[in-house]
Structures are given as structure tokens and as C-alpha cells.
């Protein structure tokens, strides 16, 4: 059998290959995406320090291993035992104390970064406080005063959170269903949305632009599709946007109110569509003070119902039709009797998949 010693250089090559891969990825900005908030900048600084420390430790330790493999190979035919050293107390002290020191320094840097990142500004310094609600599987961005933008996995486009650039914003994160997480890679930040807890964080986007985000805590079937965008625009544009927001899915809808409404769900999909046009339905209009018959047909594959509430899907203040009377069906058709309602804006949604929501406008 060939002496195993000759095999050794492969280990060396593999080790060098791994080291090269690590260094090459360093060329790509040490791998991180470009940060756009001051908090993210601090995190990136910490990351870079840890990265280079890691590289030094990795190359040093791996180097020692490879060196030992090369230098202390057994020569063929040499059967004399090497000196049987059992240990060295001084060495133990040094290689315990030194790493401990490094750990302490690292912790100090990490702690000071954490203070900056998690710093909560006084409310008066905030340009906006926006409520973010996680639903299965989408988002509601509530700017206050009934100005809500909602959207998610069943929509063609990810919902957009609009914020003024260069100003401090607070997001208040709540969920009434399962745990989600608000994650924007370019903020180098995520925070869980935990039912029963109100989490919040402050940030400022320094660079105007649109940044992708998505849910980062497993939340069920369509977790992968729970994306959103953050758009940082000038303060003016932000104010205009808020003004124009009526939280109204009926904007641009030309249909007439009717006491006989129809809604459909295509097979195996989590969405409501218009029976005639087969396009996504975000608006139902009904006449004021008139009972309404809402015919709903489910193409099958997913259980749905239709509820009508005052408020939003995840924050209803009064339920006009809903479970258990507005029964969930797996397929086929059913008719829901919506009571007479005063003029105003309501929300219709599926109580099994609250992201299937739209505006129920009573005129």
C-alpha cells in the first residue's frame, strides 16, 4: 500500500482553495448588500471588522493545521516514537487568555453597535409612525387616519411601503395571526412580528430608491411569496402619496353599486376575481341602507369564505357578515346575505386567507 504521506498535498490544495474562495468573496464588498440606512452602515462596519478578524483566524488556524500536516509527516520507515509531550501549562494560559481578550473586545464593539441600531428616537423627532401588520400572506401598511395600503401573495405586485427619505421613521409591527418577520436586506435588518407583542424599530433611509423586502419567519404555505417593497421618496412626494391614499381599493373603479354582487375564486388560488372579467377584484360597491345578496363561487382546491367588516382584515372593529354564518366552502357556490349598511368604506376578505381582501364601498 502506498504510504499515505504522499497524499498530503491534496489537503494543502483544498485548504488553499477554500481560503481563496473566502478572499474572492471579499472582493464582492465582503458579500453584504449595499446598506442604505445609518443603522445598516454601523452594522456593516462591525461586520467588516468581524470579517477580517475571521479571515485572520481562519487562515492562521488552517495554516497551522496544514503546516503540521506537511512538517510532521511520518517519513516512511521511521518507526521511532516522537517525544511524548503531554502538555504545556503556559501555552494553555496563553491560548485561553488571548481569545478571551479578543472576545471581550469584540463584545464591546458589538454592544456599542447594538445601542446605535436599536436606539429609539423620541416620538417628536419622528417624521412618521407607520403600523405594519403581517397577515398570511401579505402586509398592511397603516399610515393612520384610515390610510391603509394592503397587498401580498395574491396580488400581481408586491405592496409598497412609502417613506420619506432622509427622515427618521418608526415602524410598529403587529400580527393577529402567526409570527412573521419584517426583513429588508438593504437595511441589514429584520425584526419579528409576534402575535401578542408589539415590536417596533426606528430607521432612516438615506438613499432614495426602491428596496425589496420579504417575510423572514416561516408563516405557512405562501411564506415564500410574502414580499414587499420599501420606497424612499422626497418628503413632498410622501405627503402627496399620503393625501392621495384613501385606503380605497375602489379608486379608479367605474362600476355602479348593486344589491346583487358576485365574487369568484379560481381553482387552487388564493384570490378573489371578478366573475365577468376574471381579473383580481379589489372593489365591491353596494347601495346604502339596502340588504345585499353576495353570490360567491369557489373553483375548488382552497377553502374560502367572504366576510364584510368595518376596519381592515387584520384590524376589524365590527363584523357585518363573517364566521360562523358566512360559512367557508371548499368548492361550488353559495350566497351570503349582507345586511343593510350606512354609506361608508368597509373591507371584504376571506377569513381563512385574510390577504384576500378588498374595499366594500357603500354609496
Amino acid at each position: 500500500m502506498r504510504p499515505a504521506g504522499r497524499r498530503l498535498p491534496l489537503t494543502l490544495r483544498a485548504g488553499l482553495g477554500a481560503a481563496a474562495a473566502l478572499l474572492l468573496s471579499g472582493c464582492a464588498r465582503t458579500g453584504l448588500v449595499e446598506p442604505v440606512t445609518p443603522q445598516a452602515d454601523r452594522i456593516e462596519s462591525l461586520y467588516v471588522i468581524v470579517y477580517y478578524l475571521a479571515a485572520v483566524i481562519f487562515l492562521g488556524v488552517l495554516g497551522a493545521i496544514l503546516y503540521a500536516c506537511v512538517k510532521f509527516r511520518k517519513k516512511p520507515g521511521d518507526d521511532v516514537l516522537p517525544p511524548q509531550t503531554h502538555g504545556n501549562t503556559a501555552a494553555e494560559v496563553i491560548w485561553t487568555a488571548l481569545p478571551l481578550l479578543i472576545v471581550l473586545i469584540l463584545f464591546a464593539m458589538s454592544y456599542s453597535t447594538l445601542r446605535v441600531v436599536d436606539d429609539a428616537k423620541p416620538v417628536k423627532d419622528l417624521a412618521a409612525v407607520i403600523n405594519v401588520r403581517g397577515i398570511q400572506w401579505g402586509w398592511e401598511f397603516d399610515y393612520g387616519n384610515d390610510k391603509v395600503v394592503a397587498g401580498g401573495a395574491s396580488d400581481d405586485e408586491a405592496p409598497t411601503l412609502v417613506v420619506p427619505v432622509g427622515q427618521d421613521i418608526r415602524l410598529v409591527l403587529t400580527s393577529d395571526n402567526v409570527i412573521h418577520a419584517f426583513y429588508v436586506p438593504q437595511f441589514l435588518f429584520k425584526r419579528d412580528i409576534v402575535p401578542g407583542r408589539q415590536n417596533q424599530f426606528d430607521f432612516r433611509v438615506d438613499i432614495p430608491g426602491t428596496y425589496g423586502g420579504q417575510c423572514a419567519e416561516f408563516c405557512g404555505t405562501e411564506h415564500a411569496k410574502m414580499t414587499f417593497q420599501v420606497k424612499a421618496v422626497s418628503r413632498e412626494k410622501f405627503d402627496q402619496f399620503i393625501e392621495g391614499l384613501s385606503g380605497d381599493g375602489c379608486q379608479g373603479d367605474e362600476s355602479e353599486p348593486s344589491a346583487e354582487l358576485a365574487l369568484e375564486s379560481p381553482a387552487n388560488q388564493i384570490r378573489f376575481i371578478d366573475v365577468a372579467s376574471k381579473e383580481q377584484e379589489k372593489c365591491l360597491k353596494a347601495p346604502a341602507d339596502t340588504p345585499v345578496k353576495l353570490t360567491y363561487s369557489n373553483g375548488g382546491g382552497q377553502p374560502h369564505n367572504v366576510a364584510v367588516v368595518t376596519g381592515t382584515a387584520s384590524n376589524p372593529t365590527e363584523t357585518h357578515i363573517g364566521l360562523p354564518d358566512a360559512a367557508v366552502i371548499d368548492s361550488g357556490s353559495t350566497t351570503y346575505d349582507v345586511p343593510a349598511l350606512p354609506a361608508g368604506q368597509y373591507t371584504f376578505f376571506c377569513q381563512v386567507h385574510p390577504i384576500m381582501a378588498g374595499t366594500y364601498l357603500v354609496q
Binding site: 483566524i57 497551522a64 425584526r191 404555505t221
Partner: protein
């Protein structure tokens, strides 16, 4: 201890004709039970591996290459992790421990042989229970191996019914198996060591099994309580984790991770022990800093209880500085081990048989895993990389690059002892390099994906050409890992049929398992060498060779001391 005087000669039993099947079904012999653990756990590894390949196949395309139904994918990654963690990596070390620890301490068997058998049989029972989820209408558990409420407690779309309940019951069974095994190991080592074997002369593998067992004994019951509360919430109207009724969803996470963090030490410490056995043998030097190893192992065990909330940094419900500090501290005893392992090699005379290759692979890969863990130990950095593919990279570098490499090292090292035959070195080396390359191809790109913002547990991802390319590289690596198990299985099959015979001490090793034949007799030892250090077999071999040289005179050839 009874005296040796006046014992009536044991009546010879009439030979019992018994099928091998019945023999294994009813055995309480730690060696047979150990072998059953190894077979079962490796089977669970293959099952988990197939599930992983399906996961990786899905991710070769951004919009999901294989499964249009996200629920199916969610079940795949859940069952992959479940099979690997609960049915493979923890039990396989219990298997090696079962076989080897009594031998290493010079004992006849484990302290409680019948409980030992029960511990084993609970494993297939648990496995069948968990996987029976596939037979239910909604499929098996699908909310990750962590199964957090509230998705697992409410009636939320994407969290099925009976599959999750079966999962809970199956894991409870496995927990009992683990706990009983741990108590067994502890009593065995505390009470059944051969004369002369003080605690500080025990082999390092046994030490690591001890600390592992202490972790199991104290941490596992907390998981049990969490799973029981989850079951009550799901089935008996409980509200432990339901915020609407006064419960707390984060409470589950605290209880879960209170066990599951020490659990990762349960998964790695025996591998540390294996490395501490193999490096001295193939460097021909004693383990450098034996006492430091003992202290470091105990330190890791103790510290391991204080860091659990680093899995929860982003919940907003954690005292971040404390857990971040304790997590960073664990690097210190781990570093001490690394330095001592390298010092063992320094000034040695190293050969690179397959067990040694696996250990060198372990050292380099676990190094990466430990280092990338350093990043997420800092909460600000964790905010960026938590729940992304960076964490998946970390998990696999420490568990696969660490523990699984250790498992393969253990196979190659102890296989001659268990079977009396060698595994082929040639096939072993081919397998090592295939696994090494496949492993790095599979998991290194995940660092980059995590930094780029790809979250974990997603059935499809943003259509980005860089992401797709990295995912495809990763998939190729995963399939290469899959293929690399074939030479291993072939190696075992061929060797069992007629591999080269192994003597009692084929590696010229140190600890007591090498003081008996390969394989050992039923009663383990016909005689024991004197135990005066942590290397009784080494000492005895040295004595023997010195005696032989005395006989042949100066310049006479010393007989190879292997037999």
C-alpha cells in the same frame, strides 16, 4: 465486590438455537445494541439525505423547479431536519457510545442493559410515528423542525392537523430514548470503570459522552414540557402559547431552545471526542493538554445552558447583551480544544489513513462553522443574517462538516474493532474527497446567498441570476454528497463479505477497546492490561516491545507490536 474464593463453577448452558433476528430483537448486549443504533441512524441519514436532495432540486429554479405546491416543499425541509437531527446525528453517537464506552472503561456492559435495549427500540417507534404523518390527509409536520406556535397552535392555513401531532408524539418518544440512554451512560461511567481507571485516566471520547449525557439529562425534559404544552394547546384547548387567551408565543421559543441549544452540543461533543481519540493515534503522541480538554468540555457543557436565546435575537424579547456575551464566550473553550488538537499534531509523526483524513476535514470545516457562528453571535449582525441562508450554511458547516465528518471518522476508526475487518483505504479516500468537495460546493455558496438577502424556508425566491447560479452550484454539491454515500455503502458491503482481517489493535492505539480482540468476545475482555495512565494499551504495547527488545538484545528487530 465478591472475592474470588470458592465460587461454584458455572453450569454450561445448553446451546440455544436462535435465529439472528430473534437474537437482535431481544438482545441487551451493548455491542449488538450499538450496532443496531448504527444501522438505524445511518438509515435515517439516508432518508434525511433524500429529502435534502428534493429540497435542493426545488431550488435550482427561482420559481421552484419541482413542486408547485409550497406545502409539499415545507414538509420536505421540516422532515429533512427532523430525520437528520433527531433520528440520525444524536442517536448515531449514542450508538458509537453504546459500543465503545463500556469497552473504553473496561466494563462488561452498560449499567442497565434492558433499559439500554428499550432506549434503542424507542427510536424506530418514534421514527414510524413521525413519518406516519405522510399517511395522514394533511401530510406530515410542515412548520420547520422548530414547529413554532402560533402557526402550530391556531387553525392557520399551512399548518396541518394530525401530521404535527404525530410529530410531537414521535419526538417525545425519541426524547425518552435519549434521556434513558444518557442516564445509562452516566451510571455506567461513574460506577463501572475497571480498577485503576480514575476519572482523569478515562479516554476523551468517554469524557465527551459523559458531558453529552449530562446535557441530555438536564435539558431534554424542558423540551418535553414544551412539546406537551404544545400538544395541549393543539388538542385540549390549552392556551399556553395563544396571546389572545393570555398565553405567550415567545415562551415556546424559550423552552424549545433551552433544550435545542444544548442539543447542538450533544450533537458535536462526541465528535470532539472522536477527534481526540484519532489525532493522538495517527500523530503517535499523547493528546496534548488532557486536563485542559476535560475543563474545556465541561466549560462548553456548562456555558451551553446559558446561550439559548441567541436563536431569538430578532424577537425583541431577549436580553441581548447577556446572551450575546455568553455566546461569544463559548468560543474560548472551543478555541482551547482547537489549539490543543493542533499541538497534538505538532512534533508528531503523522500518517493520513482515512480516519485521520476525516479528522483533518473536521478541523477545517468545523473551523469555518465556528467562525461563521461568530458573526451571528453579534445581535446587530444577526439582525441582517438571521433566518437567511447564512444560518443554513452555519448549521451545515458545524453539523455536517463537524459532526458528520466525525461520524465517518468514527466508522473508519472503529469499524475494524466492531467487525474484525478493515474498510478499504482506497475507497475510503475516494469517499472522503467526494464528500469534502460536494460538501463545500453545497454549503459555501449559502454564505453568499444569506448575505445577499435570501431567507430560509422558502419554496421559491426572487428571480435573480446570481441567486439561481449559486443555488444550482449548491444543488450540484448536494447531489455529489448523495453520490458519495455510495462508495461508503459499497465499502461496508465489500468489507463485510471478505475485507482484510483486523487484529486487536490494528491502528496501534491508546485506549482499552484495543486491548481485546476484534470483534470483542461477548464478555468484552479476557484480561485487562494495567491502567496507569490515559493510554493503557499504549503503555502495555510499549512494555511489551521493550520486553521483546530485551530478549533479542541491542540492535535486534522489535516485533511489530500490532498483535
Amino acid at each position: 465486590m465478591t472475592t474470588t474464593a470458592a465460587r461454584p463453577a458455572a453450569k454450561p448452558h445448553a446451546p440455544q438455537p436462535r435465529s439472528a433476528f430473534m437474537d437482535y430483537l431481544t438482545t441487551t448486549d451493548h455491542k449488538k445494541i450499538g450496532v443496531m443504533y448504527l444501522y438505524f441512524s445511518f438509515f435515517a441519514f439516508l432518508v434525511g439525505g433524500v429529502l435534502a436532495l428534493l429540497v435542493r432540486a426545488q431550488l435550482t429554479q427561482a420559481d421552484g423547479a419541482v413542486f408547485s405546491d409550497a406545502d409539499t416543499y415545507n414538509q420536505l425541509f421540516t422532515m429533512h431536519a427532523t430525520s437528520m437531527l433527531f433520528f440520525f446525528i444524536i442517536p448515531i453517537w449514542a450508538g458509537f457510545g453504546n459500543y465503545i464506552v463500556p469497552l473504553q472503561i473496561g466494563a462488561l456492559d452498560m449499567a442497565f442493559p434492558r433499559i439500554n435495549a428499550l432506549s434503542f427500540w424507542l427510536l424506530p417507534a418514534g421514527f414510524i410515528t413521525v413519518f406516519a404523518g405522510y399517511l395522514t390527509g394533511g401530510g406530515p409536520a410542515e412548520a420547520g423542525w422548530t414547529e413554532y406556535p402560533t402557526i402550530t397552535t391556531g387553525h392557520y392555513a399551512g399548518a396541518n392537523g394530525h401530521g404535527t401531532d404525530l410529530w410531537i408524539v414521535g419526538i417525545l418518544l425519541v426524547g425518552i430514548s435519549s434521556l434513558l440512554g444518557a442516564i445509562n451512560f452516566l451510571v455506567t461511567v461513574f460506577k463501572m470503570r475497571a480498577p485503576g481507571m480514575t476519572m482523569f485516566r478515562m479516554p476523551m471520547f468517554t469524557w465527551n459522552i459523559i458531558v453529552t449525557s449530562m446535557l441530555s439529562t438536564l435539558a431534554l425534559p424542558v423540551l418535553t414540557s414544551a412539546l406537551i404544552m404544545l400538544f395541549i394547546d393543539r388538542n385540549y384547548g390549552g392556551s399556553f402559547f395563544d396571546p389572545a387567551l393570555g398565553g405567550n408565543a415567545v415562551l415556546y421559543q424559550n423552552l424549545f431552545w433551552f433544550y435545542s441549544h444544548p442539543a447542538v452540543y450533544i450533537m458535536i461533543l462526541p465528535a470532539f471526542g472522536l477527534v481526540s481519540e484519532v489525532l493522538p493515534v495517527f500523530s503517535r503522541k499523547p493528546l496534548f493538554g488532557y486536563k485542559a480538554f476535560v475543563l474545556a468540555t465541561a466549560g462548553i457543557g456548562a456555558l451551553g445552558f446559558s446561550v439559548w436565546a441567541h436563536h431569538m435575537f430578532t424577537t425583541g424579547a431577549v436580553l441581548l447583551p447577556f446572551f450575546s456575551f455568553m455566546t461569544a464566550l463559548i468560543a474560548v473553550p472551543t478555541g482551547v480544544k482547537f489549539f490543543n488538537w493542533i499541538a497534538t499534531m505538532f512534533n508528531g509523526k503523522i500518517t493520513f489513513e482515512t480516519p485521520m483524513l476525516w479528522c483533518l476535514g473536521f478541523l477545517s470545516m468545523f473551523l469555518i462553522g465556528g467562525i461563521n457562528g461568530m458573526f451571528s453571535a453579534q445581535p446587530p449582525i444577526d439582525y441582517a443574517i438571521h433566518d437567511t441562508y447564512w444560518i443554513v450554511a452555519h448549521i451545515h458547516y458545524v453539523l455536517f462538516g463537524g459532526s458528520v465528518f466525525g461520524v465517518y471518522g468514527a466508522f473508519y476508526f472503529w469499524y475494524p474493532k466492531i467487525t474484525g475487518r478493515f474498510l478499504s483505504e482506497k475507497i475510503g479516500k475516494i469517499q472522503f474527497w467526494m464528500t469534502f468537495v460536494g460538501f463545500n460546493l453545497a454549503f459555501f455558496p449559502m454564505h453568499i446567498l444569506g448575505l445577499a438577502g435570501m431567507p430560509r424556508r422558502i419554496a421559491s425566491y426572487a428571480a435573480d441570476p446570481q441567486w439561481e447560479l449559486l443555488n444550482q452550484v449548491s444543488t450540484v454539491g448536494a447531489f455529489l454528497i448523495g453520490i458519495s454515500t455510495l462508495p461508503f455503502l459499497y465499502n461496508v458491503a465489500v468489507s463485510l463479505r471478505g475485507g482484510k482481517q483486523a487484529s486487536a489493535d490494528p491502528w496501534r492505539a491508546n485506549s482499552l477497546e484495543w486491548a481485546t480482540s476484534s470483534p470483542p468476545p461477548v464478555h468484552n475482555f479476557d484480561s485487562l492490561p494495567p491502567i496507569r495512565s490515559e493510554r493503557p494499551v499504549f503503555d502495555a504495547r510499549l512494555d511489551r516491545e521493550a520486553q521483546a527488545r530485551l530478549k533479542t538484545g541491542p540492535g535486534g528487530a522489535a516485533p511489530a507490536g500490532a498483535s
